[in-house]
Each structure stands twice: as structure tokens, then as C-alpha cells.
């Protein structure tokens, strides 16, 4: 039961060898739906004279990923409407569009004619609640990406909203999901049943994704060899050719899973995987505790 890792920017690809489908799937499900994050839940609209309706604006604001470590916050209690400083982050978006007096007469470029006509996520500012300034002295809570377009405005329109971010999980609403996507696939296993040479080798190489089959020159003849089965996308092109159909066997290695996790930027992907494993342990622990506390009849 070993683990190998390959990392990229914002995404993580790693292998897990020796576990079973049930557990691999459990990790994938937890990564998608049960790792908590912070997202905008309640939007208090003080003034919205833009053409974007209130509820559409609120929906869009909720989907913006917020760079805040959810482990620092608690879940909000059920009936609690106000929100305390331990479970809520407050953001404000206050923006007004005005006409640019210095613009040229005939210009039709909105960038020149108006100020603030595009509302981006960088206009959202954090408003500390209670003792949050002490708790997070260098607290820099803002959306992950600054250039998410929220709404478009024209002169005279303004948006003035206050947002409450709470901690939630993806099962409740997809905006709380911390991954762009999390998936796994099994390692392909390509075996050549007979040695394949010359033109057949060339044709075989074209059937698979580049890099899978390598042609070597052994004693003057070109012989095909499986170089890197991992790169294969399993398109089964080889079965369309009569000559090659029976010479290759495509299968999958049963317990070698290649996971691919892409984070939305809230937490780095390796932290997400660790959190997911801890959540599964937490679930087991919960039932063990229940077993011990409830008397059996």
C-alpha cells in the first residue's frame, strides 16, 4: 500500500497502489462533497439599481471562491441568524458607476466613457467582525481570483451589498466544493501477445497516444515495445485494425489508481487530500463512539 506523487501548479496528480475501488471512490466523493470551505451564503442588499436582479447577483456572489482557510472557522449553528465572529466572514461590495467627463465626444469605448462600469471580485472588501482584527492580524481575506466579473453597470447605477460567508460542505450546495474536479482512473496495462515488427509496429504506434509505444531497432528490424502505458487514453483504436486486433491485450491494473485533484485555489490540493482522509477517519470515529455509548439490546 504505497503512494507516489507527481505535482503541478494548483493541481495534483498522485498514484495510490494497493487500495480497493470502494476506498478510492470514498476519497473521491469526500473530496467533491464533504471537505468544508467558506463561501458567501447571505447577501444583505442595501441598494441595487443595476440591471442584474438581486437574486441573480446573490447567486453569482455565492459561487465566487473565497481565499479563507476553513479550518480556522466553525460551522454556524442551526437557528443562528446573526452570525458571530467565529463562524462568519463579512464582505462588502459598494460600487457606483459614473460618467467620465474627460472622455472624447465620439468615443464609444465603455472603458473610456465610464468609471467603474465593470464590477470585479477585486472590489469586494473584507469587513472584520468583532475581534477578528485581533484573531487575524494580517488577515487577508479576499476572493481567490481578482478578475471575476460580477456585473456590468452604467452611469447612475450602483450596488451596495453586505455579504456573510459561512462554512459549508459541497453536499449542501456546490459552491462549497473545494475542488474544480477530482477524479481517478486505473493504470492501463497493455500487453503485446506476440512480437510486432516493421510496418505493423509503425501502425501500432499510431494507434496509441504518443509516447505509449516505442519502436526499437533490434538487429536491424524495428520492434515495438510498450514504453509508458500511463499515457494511454484507452481509445481502443487498435481494435479497428484487422491485423493488430489479436496481437494486443488491453486491460487495467486492478489496484493502481491514478488520482487527479484540481483545486479552486482555496486550499492547496495536497492539503485537500489530507483533509479528505481525516474526514473519513472522523466518520468512522463517530460511529465507534456511538457504538460504545449506546447500550446494545
Amino acid at each position: 500500500r504505497v503512494d507516489i506523487i507527481r505535482e503541478e501548479e494548483g493541481a495534483l496528480e498522485f498514484d495510490m497502489v494497493g487500495i480497493d475501488a470502494a476506498i478510492a471512490n470514498a476519497f473521491r466523493r469526500i473530496l467533491l462533497a464533504e471537505v468544508p470551505t467558506m463561501a458567501v451564503e447571505k447577501v444583505f442588499v442595501y441598494n441595487n439599481t443595476s440591471i442584474v436582479q438581486d437574486e441573480i447577483l446573490a447567486h453569482r456572489l455565492g459561487l465566487i471562491p473565497i481565499r479563507a482557510d476553513p479550518r480556522l472557522f466553525e460551522y454556524r449553528n442551526q437557528g443562528d441568524e446573526e452570525g458571530t465572529e467565529i463562524d462568519t466572514l463579512q464582505f462588502q461590495l459598494k460600487i457606483k458607476c459614473s460618467r467620465n467627463p474627460q472622455a472624447a465626444k465620439e468615443s464609444s469605448d465603455p472603458n473610456e466613457l465610464y468609471f467603474n462600469h465593470k464590477v470585479y471580485s477585486k472590489h469586494m472588501t473584507w469587513v472584520p467582525l468583532g475581534n477578528q482584527t485581533d484573531l487575524f492580524p494580517d488577515g487577508d481575506f479576499r476572493p481567490v481570483h481578482d478578475d471575476i466579473l460580477i456585473a456590468l453597470l452604467r452611469p447612475g447605477q450602483e450596488i451596495d451589498v453586505l455579504m456573510h460567508c459561512v462554512k459549508g460542505i459541497g453536499k449542501d450546495h456546490a459552491k462549497f466544493s473545494p475542488v474544480a474536479t477530482a477524479s481517478y482512473r486505473l493504470l492501463p496495462d497493455i500487453t503485446l501477445l506476440q512480437p510486432i515488427e516493421d510496418e505493423a509496429a509503425e501502425m501500432l504506434q499510431k494507434c496509441f497516444s504518443p509516447g505509449v509505444i516505442e519502436i526499437q531497432n533490434i538487429k536491424g528490424k524495428k520492434v515495438a515495445r510498450v514504453a509508458n502505458a500511463r499515457l494511454d487514453t484507452f481509445s481502443r483504436e487498435v481494435f479497428r485494425h484487422e491485423g493488430l486486433k489479436n496481437l494486443v491485450r488491453l486491460a487495467r491494473v486492478r489496484n493502481h489508481y491514478i488520482f487527479s485533484v484540481e483545486s479552486t485555489g482555496i486550499l492547496p490540493p495536497d492539503v485537500l487530500v489530507s483533509e479528505a482522509i481525516k474526514i473519513l477517519m472522523g466518520k468512522c470515529q463517530r460511529f465507534l463512539n456511538e457504538l460504545d455509548s449506546v447500550p446494545m439490546e
Binding site: A26, D270, F287, L291
Partner: protein
Amino acid sequence: VQADGTDGNCVTFVLHDEDHTLGNSLRYMVMKNPDVEFCGYCITHPSESKINFRIQTRGMGLPAVEPFRKGLNDLMGVCQHVLNTFEVRLLPEELRGLF
């Protein structure tokens, strides 16, 4: 949270707030136990999030709670092992020799 079937040998547990995530992985761990004659889970209705988890043990005198407890512990052990191996792999080359 549980409910009982017939005698101590076969028990149906009702787990609230759970779905295939825990159900399938727990079923897999319990099936590895040689004392277990039957193990399965089902989702009673997709609108409510609870599962019926049933374990039936072979032979006499073995309460069905035992394989359930063992399965949970085994699953925790697997997770712990995965977490450890994963975190060791994340460390840079030099520190890996320590583990």
C-alpha cells in the same frame, strides 16, 4: 444509531447522515472478515440520507456488533496508513529518510 434484527447474530444498523461514501467502504472492510456470513448496505430512499447496514455472522455466540466495530477500526487503520504514506511523500527528499 441502530436497530436490531433477530438474535445477536444478525443485526441491521441504521446509520443516519450517511451515503455510499461510508457505506461501500465499510462494507468492503467488513467483508474481509472471515467470520462474516453476510454483509450489505442499502439506501432506504434517495431523498433521506440514511443507510441500512446489515451484518450476519457465521456460527454461534459471535455478536454481530463485533465485525462492525472491527470493520470501523480497520477502516480507520487504512485511512491512517494512507495519510501517513501520503504525507511522507509530500516531504522533500532529505527528510524522507527519517521515516
